[in-house]
Amino acid sequence: MSRTSKPLITIENISKSYGGVQALSKVCLNILPGEVHGLCGENGAGKSTLIKCLAGVVSPETGTITVDGKPLSHGDIHATEAAGIAVIHQESTAFLDLDLVENLFVGREIKKYGWLNRRAMERQALAVMHRLDVTLDLHTPLREFSIAQRQMVEMARACLRDCRLLIMDEPTASLSARETKTLLGLVKQLRESGVSVLYVSHRLEEIAELCDRVTVFRDGRLVATTPIDQLDRNQLIGQMVGREINALTRREEHAGQTDEVRASITGLYSRGSFSDISFEVRAGEILGIGGLVGAGRSEVARAIFGADRYDQGEIKIDGASLKKGSIQAAIEAGIAMVPEDRQHQGLILPMSVSENLSLTILTEITRHRLIHHGHETAQVQHLMRRLAVKAANAKMEAASLSGGNQQKVVLGKWLAIKPKFLILDEPTRGVDVAAKAEIHRLIRELTEAGMATLIMTSDLPELLTLSDRIQVMCEGRIAGQLDGATATEEQVMRLAFPRSEAQLT
């Protein structure tokens, strides 16, 4: 770095943990004035936590953040704002029914004799847009703007507030190629005017084009901060994954795998979510689908299970075509799905463990129109033993269990119907190591007994150790297939990150 100016922001020894999981440990980082600083890492590497600490949403347990040499009090949004730090989130926080000017000045309107001074606000709005070199109509409600235009408004708002560090969290995730180009131009414009930008993105091309330096996170630790011209794409990916495969061993042979095709998905397409999804899962086989969050994996899982509709394509179970968009039909055909978000989609938290477990087998445990208590208890006890659910008793509320045990209950609910084809969407997210190992053991056991398993996971070691075959999704498409026995984390990541536009089309 030739630049010798004093850093704008200095982060020293920041640590933060959530319920025993170390999200950030002893992170030191500085951001120079007028620098675009890239932030990279896998999902869950600690990027979001760092952003939250900087934005004052979360207070770190140790460490200091100083702005221009002055310490920033932790977890204080107002102090952060006063220090000139602004965040543009992935989802826009704009007021859709207010127009551009109203959005720019919301909360800090310019007043004259206690009345709104619309003219002064419009003048300032025009000035800031001129500075950013964009033209947008001042009187149009934001609802009529595109997502990219809304993001421009947010950037303009940050500029109006004399922002000195702008944090952008995957700003281009939902933008088209042209919109992305405009946005990148804007970021450069901002840099010219002396604003520092902390830029989080999964798109390595953008990082390369835009950033002066890039910092890589892995498992809550800072791996390295490197000037961008000393790093190529593969080195960057290497920094992100470079970790040892954990203790769980891979499947040595494809135990129990047969040639019998259990599920076949052909040409599945859903507008705006995914396209061209085709694969087969055989009985006794685990097919892993890797990719970044937002690559469209959950959407595919939900479409197969009938939870969402899709526009084109066919799903066959044991050769028979499956009715579109009907969960009941999917269950009838022997499909089960453990959804991504266990608190909101997997469990009914105020209900007891027992009630949650028996939810899928209510008709089986009903005798003479009433739920047979004995049958229910027997089934529930069997499932709890099999999954080693740790709960004081089956009458406990599901909400009071730990994450790992909650996940076991979700899994148990589906094992109760003895599925032929099990879809698991992030089955061990936020689950402790012991429960994770048990869930893995169970998935293998069931698959070896003849079940077909489709597992979507962002957890690379999990993907590599469990899968017989791996397909990687990227931006709604299958980017490539790997053999589970030989695939490496690097190979998966290389497929998972979007290529530049030219290669995409």
Partner: protein
């Protein structure tokens, strides 16, 4: 404590009985059956509305629906002008069918039309009220056949009370002992998780609305049988009383929680308040007090609901 709401309702019923006994030692034994009989329409309809609220919806059209069904029954079976004088059993069957169908229609409006239930049933409340006025054409309808009156005034066995007990017991079994009951709670607690567990949220909601319509029809029949008179104001304001009872009985307005016992106790308590106030001979003042007390009870019930549920994650968004 799981049964906290039921316990506090029992304490309130006890305290009220004690107060009444201070005024008149024979009040409770003399009025117990009366209180129960007076509570019949509210009790029966509350069973249905409770289920609707547990699924996370609401039905505030039941008062008007009762009025309309009572008017229909009166017109069909009354032996005097403008009644048609058809056989009372046939009239009863028609009213039960119409009630169920209107309930089902309400459900369709909410489920398929995606109209928020509070708005859909508010519209129905007004529309059904208008239909009742139009049917009645102004005057009261009296003179009903004996077979019908017997249901409400049977001298030796109180048939209406027995029917009510059956409805309450049936609702209790449905809620706590059947697959459908489980599904009703699941749908109200977390609709997206219920859906992903293969439960049809649509069918479940249609069922509770249709059942409420049918229970309202039963209540309308017993109402006509007991009073032998239907006017344009029959059923007016009943929906508020029913919702009050359900909420005071501990059913969460956000859905997913509530037990039949609490609702039964709340119906008894609220009917008792009215009887005691009447008994204290406050004249027209009593009505005002009644409404003030009921209002405060709703507020207390809903606020305590808020405080007990506030710290729980997940559930409905």
């Amino acid at each position: 404590m799981k049964y906290r709401r039921e316990a506090s309702l029992i304490v309130l019923v006890g305290a009220l009985s004690f107060l009444a006994t201070l005024f008149d030692a024979s009040f409770v034994p003399a009025n117990a059956i009366d209180i129960l009989i007076n509570s019949i329409p509210t009790m029966i309809i509350s069973c249905g509305v409770m289920l609707v609220i547990i699924t996370g919806e609401i039905d505030i059209s039941v008062g008007s629906l009762l009025g309309l069904l009572a008017a229909t029954l009166a017109l069909l079976s009354s032996t005097a002008e403008p009644g048609l004088g058809i056989h009372p059993y046939l009239a009863i069957a028609i009213v039960l069918t119409v009630g169920t169908l209107i309930g089902l229609g309400t459900g369709c409006l909410v489920v398929y039309g995606r109209v928020p239930s509070i708005i859909a049933t508010l519209g129905l409340l007004i529309a059904l009220d208008g239909a009742q006025d139009w049917l009645m054409g102004g005057g009261d309808i009296k003179h009903f056949p004996q077979e019908l009156r017997y249901l409400g005034t049977g001298t030796t066995i109180p048939i209406n009370l027995i029917l009510t007990i059956l409805v309450v017991a049936g609702t209790g079994l449905l809620c706590h002992k059947t697959a459908l009951g489980r599904r009703i709670y699941a749908v109200g607690s977390n609709p997206s998780a219920a859906r992903l567990a293969g439960i049809s949220v649509t069918t479940t909601k249609l069922f509770v609305f249709a059942l409420t319509g049918m229970l309202t029809a039963i209540a309308a029949i017993l109402w006509v049988a007991k009073l032998g008179n239907v006017s344009t104001s029959t059923g007016a304001g009943l929906e508020l009383k029913v919702v009050t009872c359900v909420v005071v009985g501990g059913v969460s307005i956000r859905g997913g929680r509530g037990r039949i016992l609490g609702v039964v106790l709340a119906v008894i308590l609220i009917t008792m308040i009215r009887t005691v106030l009447n008994f204290m001979d406050l004249g027209s003042e009593a009505v005002k007090w009644q409404r003030a007390i009921e209002g405060v009870m709703i507020l207390v019930a809903v606020t305590s609901d808020h405080f007990t549920q506030r710290n729980q994650p997940g559930g409905k968004s």
